[in-house]
Each structure stands twice: as C-alpha cells, then as structure tokens.
Symmetry: C2
Subunit: 463 residues, 2 copies
C-alpha cells in the first residue's frame, strides 16, 4: 500500500532521514502566545506517508464566505513536480483565488509522470469537497508535496486522511495547537517546526499574518510567479496566511518582491529542488463591512500597499532565515552583506557566490578568518560593472554590537587581532560584509557553514 514503485526508491532522497533536535534549535521553535490571523482553520494529521508515524498531512482552510486572494512563487526548475504543475493550473483557472491548501510530507510526488498528476488532482478534489469549493464548480485548493523523489504517493491513505476531516469530530481548529500541528506536518529533515506570526497596522487598522515553512537541505531556491519559464531547486515549502484583504494582483506583486529578498536569498547547500513553492492567502477576515473598499491595492493606495509589502517582506525573511538555522549540519548562521554595488543584481550575485563557496563555508566551520577565500569568491562572478580591487573592503560584523573587525580595507590586508577574530567566529551568528565601493546598491544573503555532519547526512555511507 505504499508507493507503487519498488521500495528501493526510498533511498533516492535524503529528506526522510530523521535528525535529532540540536539544543541550539530549541529557541527557534514556535511559541504559543501568537495572535494568528482570523478566518482560518488548520490541522496536521498522520495519513500514513511516513513510516515513522509522524505527522505528514497538513490542511489549511479559509472559512470566509468568499474565496481568499491567492498568489504563489514556484521553483524555476525544469523538472517541476506534479503538485507544482497542478497548483499553477489551479491558480490560472481561478484567476488567483483559493479556499484551501493541502500539503503532504514524506513523498515529493516528483518524476512520477501521469500517475503523479492524477494523484495531485485527487488531493485537490478531496480538499475542495472539504472546503465546499466543489459546489462552486471550481478547484479552489493549492497543493504542495515534499520528500522522496521518484516515488508515487500512497494516495488512498492521503485521501482517507483528508476525508476524515469532513466528520464532525475533525481536528480542524484555530488554536495554537492546530497551527503547530500543521507546521509539523510539513517537516522532513527539519529538526523543529517553523511557524511565526505577527500583527501589523495599516491606516489605523490592525491585521495579522502567520506563516509556516520547511526545509533543511537542497536549499538554494530561485522561485518566480506562475508560468515563468524556469529551472529547478531543492525543496523549500512555505505558506503565509493573512486576514488582510489584498487584491489578487497586489498580493502576487508583494509576494514576488518579498520572495526575491527572502527565500531567493538563502542557501544551505547551493542545490535547487523540483518542488520549491511559497503560497500566500489573504482572506480579508479582519475587514468588517465592505471588504472591497478596504482591499489593499497598489494602484488604489500605493502607500498602504508599500506598508503591506514591506511588512510581508520582513516576515518572509524571518521564515526564510529559520530554514538556514536548521540547515543540514549547520553550526553557524551567516549573514552575507554586499554593499556599494552598481546594481542590486551584481550585489545579489556576489552574495550568492560567497554563500555557496565550499572554501568559505568550511573556513567558517573551522572558525578561520580566511578573507582570501571571501575575496576569491567575490571576484569570480561576471558583473555589470567590473570590480576595482583597490576599492574592496571585507569585514566581520559581530552580532553583539561590539566593534567591527576589518580584514581588508580598500584592497589592503589589515593587521588582525587573532584573539578578537576567534572570539567573533566562535559565536553562532556572524555578518560578513563586503564593500565594493562602486555604487549604492546592496543585497543580503543568509547561509550556514559546511561541516562533517553535512557530509554524514548527505553521504549516507552504505557499507
């Protein structure tokens, strides 16, 4: 009753190996005093995808009478998994609305051909029946999967899991426990559930947003709006929910803007997945009276839209950083800041190259202030404006507010206090700042170090 491909396919992914929760991760776990957005019910179930008995099916339903505005960014990978193709299709058919999200972990439903597409559609239809969307005649469910590649879903178990929530004693709810169970059902090699919430105010009115995501390896996303011709990444899934009313167009604009500066600016191992997806629903449940009049829209009220977009981007950045903190084998959380570039693209490209350099990442693991490797990575990418080595500076910025440690100033090596370098590098968090001295654009990237544990987790040596 598991997938219909032979059991040996299970080993073709690292995403099902359980990892212990490192002590440092505990303080990143969700805390129960959040104010979650109104008008959503959620649950996390064990449907039977994971052999361990862990939660593997999340359901998220908007309870407002009208469907919510919906937007998404999908992997640009050429080998898009079935749930990615199906969610794109649902959004296209509905012009950007949805009532529900269904997610399974343990199996990515990727490289599964026609059967995989049928299974993803079956998840959509079963969840439509749960939300009542099937009566309106349109598919109103977005679907995501994460886990093993090249294996079919145990679809009967998943459908039974979804249908079990139609009964009166279902576990759908809006308590902290319900939110946390949904977040847990997304996990694969993650060591802790990733769930955050925040309150924000626009024009004197208070709204809420909450989000969950998952990912620890095959993390180097590059996601764009639906129907962009694109490429492939490793699996990052995220879902953000708000009770603000946002027009469909502006929701997609805000999401695309935010994803470029958050999820598309993190790297664990430089590898992209076939399933990367970030979804957002805005159901307007916070709005009383005429929702349309209060709808946030970039043309109707640009100032309000910008507040929303920036709140949303800051929130997406928090969620994205949780993935790096939980990176496979990670012992460090590194912010790479590139400043003084001619263009944002130049700054982003250099920050990405430093963040994926094996030599930089092993040096950081070894607590070695190796600016030569940072410089080599900086110089190795083609830019719109060539670098001038004499203007480049590199420094370490401690996160405790203590003084900056310059390593290279205008192309000249600095005398470095070894004890001070060691002190800064022994802390979990560190910012590496590269000043190019050319222009005014800057970009940030978040990455982790490269440890023995990364090799152990992914080498999975079989004797």
């Amino acid at each position: 009753m598991a997938g219909r491909l032979p059991a040996l396919w299970k080993r073709f992914s690292s995403t099902i190996t359980p990892r212990p929760i490192p002590p440092k991760a505990h303080h990143h776990a969700p805390i129960p005093d959040h104010a979650f957005p109104r008008g959503y019910v959620l649950t996390g179930l064990h449907a039977g995808v994971k052999k361990t008995g862990a939660l593997d099916l999340a359901l998220i339903l908007s309870t407002t009478p009208d469907p919510a505005s919906a937007a998404a960014c999908f992997t640009r990978n050429a080998f898009k998994a079935a749930p990615v193709v199906v969610s794109e299709e649902v959004l296209q058919r509905n012009g950007g609305t949805a009532r529900a999200v269904v997610v399974n972990s343990g199996c990515a439903n990727a490289v599964t051909g026609k059967q995989g597409m049928e299974d993803a559609w079956a998840m959509v239809r079963a969840t439509d029946a749960l939300s009542g969307a099937d009566k309106a005649g349109a598919n109103q469910t977005l679907v995501m999967s994460t886990g093993v590649i090249g294996q079919y879903l145990p679809i009967a178990k998943i459908i039974a899991g979804i249908q079990s929530q139609a009964a009166q004693n279902n576990s759908l709810g809006s308590t902290f426990d319900a939110w946390e169970r949904a977040a847990k059902a997304l996990m694969t090699t993650d060591t802790f559930p990733k769930l955050r919430a925040r309150t924000f105010t626009i024009n004197g009115k208070e709204y809420r947003m909450a989000g969950m995501d998952k990912g620890a390896g095959m993390i180097h996303p590059d996601m764009g709006p639906p129907r962009t011709i694109g490429q492939l990444h490793a699996t990052l899934l995220g879902c953000i929910l708000t009770d603000a009313a946002v027009s469909r167009r502006s929701l997609q604009s805000a999401l695309t803007y935010a994803v470029d500066r958050s999820f598309n600016s993190i790297s664990v191992d430089g590898d992209m997945s076939t399933n990367d997806t970030i979804l957002v629903l805005a159901n307007g449940a916070a709005v009383t009276g005429s929702g349309i009049l209060e709808e946030i829209d970039e043309e109707r009220d640009p100032a309000a839209y910008e507040i929303f977009r920036d709140e949303f981007t800051a929130f997406a950045t928090d969620l994205a950083q949780l993935v790096v903190r939980d990176g496979e084998g990670a012992t460090k959380f590194i912010t790479v800041s590139v400043e003084g570039a001619a263009t944002y693209a130049d700054a982003h490209l250099i920050a990405s190259r430093i963040s994926t350099s094996a030599l930089v990442k092993t040096a950081l693991y070894g607590q070695d202030a190796n600016w030569g490797r940072i410089l080599a990575a900086t110089g190795s990418v083609p830019l719109s404006t060539p670098l001038d080595p004499k203007r480049v500076s590199v420094s370490f910025i401690p996160t405790d507010g203590s003084p900056v440690l310059p390593l290279l100033v205008n192309g000249e090596p600095e005398m470095v206090d070894e004890a001070r370098a060691k002190e800064i590098l022994s802390v979990e968090d560190l910012e590496v700042r590269v000043q190019l001295g050319i222009g005014k654009e800057s970009a940030k990237y978040w990455t982790c170090d490269f440890s023995y544990d990364y090799v152990r987790i992914n080498g999975d040596y079989r004797s």
Copy 2:
C-alpha cells in the same frame, strides 16, 4: 626574512598544508621513460619560500637561438595576482614570445599591492639575466606564483635561487630528473608531481610535448586569453612545452580551444582562484633547416593546425584530469557527460552544475545512485533551449567496459539492480551520462566527490 606582512597571514590559505600521498595516487606519478621535447633545460630548487625545505622554485629555459612562440590563458578573476598581471604585460610587450618561465610555490603573491608587482618584475628580470634575454633589451620571462594569499614573497631568497643557476655548476638540465624536479617545485597541497609527455606526428614529422601542472583545491578554473575582462578563481598552474614550431597566433588559438575543453572543464570545489595560469611555449627545436617554412599555422596549413590543436587538447585534458585525481579529499574520479544539448554552452553549463553540486558529490562519496539529485542539478540552470523532462535520460557508465546502468529513461525511473549499482559505485572511476534528447551538442566535465577529508583539509578546525 620571510614575507614582510605578519606571520599570522600564513594561515589565510589552505595551500601550504602538506598531505600524505594516498596509495591510489602512486600510479599517477610521472614515469621516467618519456621522450621530452628538445631545446629546454629545467630545474627545481628550494629557494626558501617553504619552511619545510621542499622544492619551491622552478626554472624553465628554452635554449633555441630565437625566443619561443608563447601563449597563455589567465584567470578571469577580478583580483588578479601580481604574477598574472606581469605575465600578461610581458606577453603584450613581446607580441607573444618568451625564453623562460619562472614559478614559485608557497606564496601566491596575491593581494600584495605595489610591492607584489615589484617582486614579480624582479623575478622576470633575474630570469632574463639567466636566459640572456636581458641583452636583447626585452623581458622574455613569464612568471607564476601559487600558495598563500596576502603575504609578500621572500624576494631576496627567490632572486638568490635564480642567480645560483647562472654559475657553472647549476642544476639546469633536460633529464627526467630535471623535469620532475621542476614539476615538484610547483606543488602546494598536491600529493604527487603532475608531469606528462607525448610524441605526435604531423605531415610525417615527429614532435614532442611535455607539461606539468599543480592544483588540488580552489579548483574551478575559468581562464581566457590575455586582456579579457574577467573574474577570479583558485589556483591552478600549468606549463606546456613543445619542440614544434607554431606561429604565435595559432599557438594562442590552440591554447584557448584546449583550455575551454580541459582546464575550464574541471572542478574540485567550485571555487576559482586569483592566480590560475596556463602557459605554453613552442620553440621549434624539432625543426631543422628553415623553421619558418615548417611553422604550424592555421591559415597556411589548416589540416596540420587541426592535428596539432587536437593533440594539444587531448594532452591538456590529461594534465587537467590529474588535478581532479589529486583533489582535496577526493575518493572518486567522475566524468560527467552531457549529450543531446542544443548548444555546447548549454551542455557545458549543465555538466558544470552537476560537477559542483554538493548533494551529487556527497551522494557519490556515499556510493549512492541518487539520480534525483543529478536531475535536480540538471534542471537548475538557465538554458538557451528549455529542457523537456520526458526526453531526459540518466545513466552510469562503468569504466571496465561492463554494461551501462540506466537510472532514468526518457523521464521514467528504471528498476535498478542495487547490487549492480553498488558494484559500479565502489570503483574509483565512474562516468555519469545525461542525455537531454534535444540537439546534437555535448560536453564533458571532470570532478571528484565531497568527503569528510575535504571538510577536514579546509575546515582546519582550531580549538
């Protein structure tokens, strides 16, 4: 008397850590029965750059009356080291001729400002005096350095080493021992000297070429002809010498062609250096009588040129592969073949992405036939022609001539014989072949796996 920057800078590079010679590497060491090209004398000395007493200075002189044709490809890194800038300048001044090459290991003379430039020029002038080029009034020496970044050369020791060879009892010679000592003087973290020679025939006439190179980490070269605007890599140095007569223009053409298909198609860690340089000299010593009439030139005799170019490319590929075999922490030698692409650039880009994927490289270390990771890497790069997942096939090609093991055929996973997969993956050499099914272009890349030892060598954990 070491570098003039504080001693602590020594630790800002991994390239001086000695590594033991792994048993598997012994059969890659040079063998003494080569026929080396005529008209060259060489030596390798300990000048005093390396504290260990190991050889650290190589001298290569052409003994023909006229200077040799010379060509080079240099790193495209924005932070070019002083010897790169100086060698570019020498070639430009001379219009592509040289009489000598001088190389030091142990110190890269990179990020060393004005002093670094003066030191590199001093090495050129001292070697010019040795070759007699100084009497002709022009600089005729090319210079290369490899080792620690951000440290000054112990230039007095190096100059004394060069000048010691002007005495009658110098060690310059053309024996196998002389060639091998020169190759040894290039080594940094290399575990064996890299030296090869071959004989080839054009229009019934026999010629010889020999070459040496070095490199084990910071290896992902991208080199171009002099004066291309460019970027930065990690250190690969190579020098190829032939006794054929080749016009300056055609020597550069053949080198650029060969480097794209050899040195620019290898990766150890995906990191590029500031010092990467490949030099070639063609002194025509094999030619008797009128050298000009027998000069190989692409316009005068395209067929002869193509034979030379292809011999040269095959030879450069042999030298490039030695670097991958000696890659830091490597236990596998992987050939990545991408076939059926619309363009060579598309095929090369995919092959490069697979060859640098941390997930693919750790899976190969773990002897895990993880085609999902190969597929994810394949789909993650932007191409001139989008991929069609239904046409993509992935297979393992054993190097012992036994049958191919298909993993994915036209987008459909194959039933894989686990025992057979394990058998193939337990051998040091393996070819991973990806067939795109779009066009007729193909490219190859050579890479190694990612092991605990890679992290140990580069993490250099300081307690």
